[in-house]
């Protein structure tokens, strides 16, 4: 019967192997196909009246969510700045079908916003440019800001999600 410490060590080993497997087998291809991880998620903003805005036009959006061989062209992106901050009540980040195929840990994230309580939606990419290796990695960040305090979910291309109160976090290769 393994001890608790052995079980923890075993779980950590499996986690590490899973991450390494991701990097060795699929990592480079995914990063090249998705502009450093930028295209792995697609957002939909839902307004108070039930209407919504999306990151892409309807055809591109639906294809991205259903076609595992498809990554939307970058020039189809509709900027998040077009979202009406005063009326949005929820933002959903969907991993595109391609992401679900290649990044098994990617999952949908929902952020509920209450503008009447002074909450502001935050959505952007946190980009690392490694001067030495030349690699660029883009992490999707979504969260809320209220009274100067931030609560952020940082989604790495590997599918790992980090909860943070600012952008200055060590991801240790995630």
């Amino acid at each position: 019967m393994p001890t608790a410490e052995e079980l923890v060590a075993q779980a950590e080993l499996h986690r590490k192997q899973e991450t390494e497997h991701w990097y060795i087998d699929d990592g480079d291809k995914v990063m090249n196909d998705t502009d450093g991880g930028r295209m792995l998620y697609a957002w939909k903003a839902i307004y108070e009246d039930g209407t919504c805005a999306r990151q892409y036009d309807e055809i591109t959006f639906m294809r991205a969510l259903n076609d595992a061989l498809y990554v939307p062209p970058i020039d189809r992106i509709i900027s998040i700045s077009t979202v009406d901050q005063d009326r949005v009540r929820e933002l959903i980040l969907y991993p595109i079908a391609y992401a679900l195929r290649h990044c098994p840990r990617a999952s949908t994230v929902r952020v509920v916003v209450n503008p009447k309580k002074g909450e502001k939606l935050l959505v952007y990419w946190c980009t690392d440019v490694n001067v030495t290796t030349g690699h660029t990695i883009r992490r999707q960040v979504v969260g809320i800001e209220r009274d100067g305090q931030k609560l952020l979910f940082v989604l790495s291309p590997s599918g790992t999600m980090t909860l943070a109160t600012n952008d200055d976090v060590s991801f240790d290769g995630e």
Binding site: N130, T132, H135
Partner: protein, 183 residues
């Protein structure tokens, strides 16, 4: 479009001329003012103290414009230099560029001239990912612009101490990283 980024050294007289893209090459800290990846002008292992390189001034250049803007530009190292190698970093004041020069080997005033400035203030071990060097906290560049925006120079300097045991030649590389928010 996504903002494509290139990192460049600046060499020569004020305001300096930009090197070609140095992203993805191992950078050589040397006692000369150039961005060439070669083994000339190396840092000699000292008998006492440390041997400094000349400074390097760096900026990140956005060759395509962001969807909306680039902001909150930071710089950090993802791993520490090898034992016996000291590495220092600071941000220059806005509008200031100082050409690398032979006096840098004596320690740069306000940067690496005293033990306090070297260790407490400007050693890169103070700037891991969780506490990076803030290059520009606000907006650096907005659509439709390209280039370097409002950012200031990151100045770095390397030295080798008596305890370095790696022998002649290039040291084991370590990573410098620019991080920014993009929307």
């Amino acid at each position: 479009m996504a903002a494509s980024a290139q990192v460049r050294f600046y060499t020569g007289a004020s305001p300096g001329s930009a090197s070609s893209d140095i992203t993805g090459i191992t950078i050589r800290y040397k006692q000369a003012d150039n961005a060439t990846q070669d083994a000339f002008f190396p840092l000699a292992l000292p008998i006492v103290g440390q041997t400094f390189s000349w400074r390097k001034s760096t900026k990140i250049n956005f060759s395509t414009t962001p969807v909306t803007s680039i902001s909150n530009l930071r710089w950090f190292v993802s791993s520490n230099p090898p034992s016996g190698i000291n590495f220092y970093a600071r941000v220059q004041a806005a509008g200031i560029y100082v050409q690398a020069n032979s006096q840098d080997v004596n320690g740069i005033t306000g940067f690496t001239d005293t033990v306090g400035n070297q260790n407490a203030n400007n050693a890169v071990t103070n700037y891991p990912a969780a506490t990076p060097l803030t290059v520009n906290s606000g907006t650096v560049l907005s659509n439709p612009n390209t280039g370097e925006g409002t950012q200031v120079f990151v100045e770095t300097q390397m030295s080798v101490g008596t305890t370095y045991a790696g022998g002649p030649g290039a040291i084991t590389p370590f990573a410098q990283i620019y991080r920014y928010n993009e929307s």
